[in-house]
Structures are given as C-alpha cells and as structure tokens.
Symmetry: C2
Subunit: 227 residues, 2 copies
C-alpha cells in the first residue's frame, strides 16, 4: 500500500447509480456496481469501485480511471460527493478516500463488465461491504434523495427528451414512494420545455415529450470548472 510519510494513503471511490427493477417488488430502484476485493484487507468482500490516486492525475481523473479499470463503466461526468477520512476506517493504515458519484442511464450501465467480481446490487439491500462503504452508500442515497428536490439531477437518469410519466418514475424510484401525477406535473412544469414531439405508437393521443430547461446547469458546480 502506498502511504504518506505521516502514514496517510489517498484513495478514490465511486458510487454509480442506475435505476433498475427491484428484485422483489419489481419497482424501479437505485442500483450500484460493486467490485469483489481480491486482496487484503477485506479480501472476498464487495466494495465500491476505486483505488489509489497517482501524482500526475487529478482526483476526478483518478476516480474515472479506477472506475473504468474495475468495471469498464465510463459515465458522462463524475461529481465529487465527500471526502471520508476518519481515523481507523481501514484496518491496514490510515486511508482518506475522496468519493465521486454519478447517475447513469440504462445503456451506460450496460457497459459494466459484470462477472464473478463485478456485480450490480440494489443500493438499499447490500451485503456487509469492505471498510465504511455501507455508510458511504447510505450517505450517497441520502444526497440523491435530497438533491432531487432542488436540482435537475433526475435528468441524469433520462435521455434528452422524456415524458412526464418517465420523469415521475425517476422521482418515484429515487424517493421510493408514489407521487400524484397531477401534483407532480404542477411542480416540475416550470423547469421543463415541451417539445413538438410525442411518443410514437398506436395510441390516439400519445404523451408529449419534454426536455429540461438548458439554461440550468446539469452538474451545478458553480465556479468550479466542469469535469
């Protein structure tokens, strides 16, 4: 293990959310990819994709590289979630982990090379993970549920255009509760732009497609440079 002269190692981890049907209820719910550890500590346990930071790469680049190397996933963007640095969070020396997160759409999620040592898990129904990774996922889920209320984060799970029902299903999956369609329409309409298109199909009046108001940034990093 690489570590500082003071005995501190700098790592990155990633929490990648995709919406998939829950194995029991069948309802859409957040899933995350996990990697089985093949070295000590916690050999054999599932863990968030991650690894060490190299001196010549930024934190976000290190997170993207480790994610790609372990899972073949390559999200359109990674946002910094939090730096976890409690003493004793690793049994094998002091490790500070900068955690990044992203939401990916189904076709992006399919890139993940699933196998014996890489597998998607429902985020609210995880085995006991390595290190403090259960607590990290719990925090990421809380941020996802909080942030959906005041940002356009739900859009990251959707394509460029979507129906109101599709957008509501994303909110329902994230918040894990049913929403009233008429109330939902009133709440989100102000941040949406109706397109001229409707869903193609045989229905008499197929639902209209919307897109988000592009004047609002997707990843709201303010004066930080976009990743």
């Amino acid at each position: 293990m690489e570590h500082t002269q003071q005995g501190i190692s700098l790592a990155v981890s990633t929490v990648i959310f995709a919406l998939r049907p829950h194995p029991e209820t069948g309802l859409s719910t957040p899933w995350i990819p996990l990697v089985r550890r093949i070295t000590k500590p916690y050999e054999g346990r599932w863990a968030l994709p991650g690894g060490w930071v190299s001196p010549e790469e930024s934190l976000a680049d290190a997170a993207a590289r480790n994610l790609l190397e372990t899972t073949a996933l390559k999200p359109a963007y990674l946002e910094q979630l939090y730096a976890f640095g409690e003493v004793g969070r690793s049994p094998d020396g002091r490790v500070v982990s900068i955690v990044y997160w992203a939401m990916v759409r189904p076709h992006e999620a399919e890139r993940a090379a699933e196998g014996e040592n890489v597998r998607w898990h429902p985020a609210d129904h995880l085995p006991k993970l390595a290190f403090d990774h259960n607590a990290i996922v719990e925090y990421a889920l809380w941020r996802l549920r909080t942030k959906v209320g005041y940002s356009r984060i739900a859009r990251a799970f959707l394509g460029e255009t979507f129906t109101l029902a599709e957008l509501r299903e994303v909110y329902e999956a994230v918040l894990q509760r049913q929403l009233d369609p008429a109330n939902f329409r009133r709440q989100v309409e102000g941040s949406l732009v109706p397109t001229e298109s409707r869903v193609s199909g045989g229905r008499h009046r197929p639902p209209r497609l919307y897109r988000h108001d592009e004047s609002i940034e997707l990843v709201d990093n303010g004066p930080l440079a976009s990743p």
Copy 2:
C-alpha cells in the same frame, strides 16, 4: 513538507465567514480571516488558515486544530466544503487540500487574534492569495449564496432569537442585494417560530423576536455523524 510515497501531500484549509460592514459601502458583507505565509512557497502572501493532516486526527479535527493554531478561532462547527486536488495547484509538489467552512457570529469572530500575520478581509475584495485560494474563496462564496436559498445556513450568523429585519440583513449581506421586507417575510415565515419576546427598548411596538424551527437540522449532513 510531508508527502506520500507517490508525492502527494494531504492538507486542510478553512474558509470562515463573518458579516461585517464593507469598508467602502458600509453595508454588511462576508469577511474571511487570512494568514500571512511565513514560509515558501508564496512566502509573504495571504492564504486561508490551514496546514497538514496528522495520522491520528480526523480531517475535521485537523481543520479545527490548524484554524485554532493560526487564528485562535474556534467555530461551533466546521462543514466540509470540497476537496481541491488539481495537479500543479502547488509549485512545491502535489498537494490535495480538503477545505472546511463555517459561518461565525460577531462575538466568535472577535476571538481571531488579529495582527501583522492574521487579518480579516472582505471576501469579494481580496489580494492575490497563495496557491488556488482565490478560486477556493470564490467557490465558497458561491456555495454560501446558493445554500442560503434552500437551507437554514443564515441562522449560523445569528443568535438563538432574532428579528425579521436582522434575518433579512443576513440574506442581503450574503446575496449582496436589497430584499423587499414584505416579500421576505412571506418567504421565510414558514420556517420560523415566533417567540413571546420582543426587542427591548423605548419603542411603542418593538419588533417581535423569532427563532428557527428546531426540527430542521442546522448543518444538514444527513446520515453523516454531526461534527
């Protein structure tokens, strides 16, 4: 300088906001304490209070210790702001800085041992700082202005009870624009609890004192342990 085997050093910095009159306009505005560097690199330049992380202390503890040692400030809480880790942000090797922030009230701000090497500066009118600290302050100001809209962060600048005018002045200082008193009252009343007390003084009908609804967390860290 202490650094990792890969050549990465782990530091902490703090952005501490207090509201004080602007030196030119006299209007309340955010100020921050800065420390003059007495070592290379950037010897003689002003910088955010900070220093290295020791292996036996958490990141928040390291931030609090470095802040106390350099400025004698001891805020009631420190919240993690962001980890800055771009390659080349220090001319003297790779440094990753975990930045913490806090808002302090006037009597807390007065603890800062001002002198030749510690001084408060208006946050929107800074000299050229060491490292990327100007960009860090700009990001912290943006977060402050954004967060005041959806959290109780303004309360950190106030006492337990306050008048609507005092609360509005905090918002005006943070947002740097005047707010209509009647509109402001309508927007914030839902999150406030009126007390039985009024401001003492000789007026016929002195203004009522309010407090925030305690059912909402001040530092909204979700499932993260409170600092």
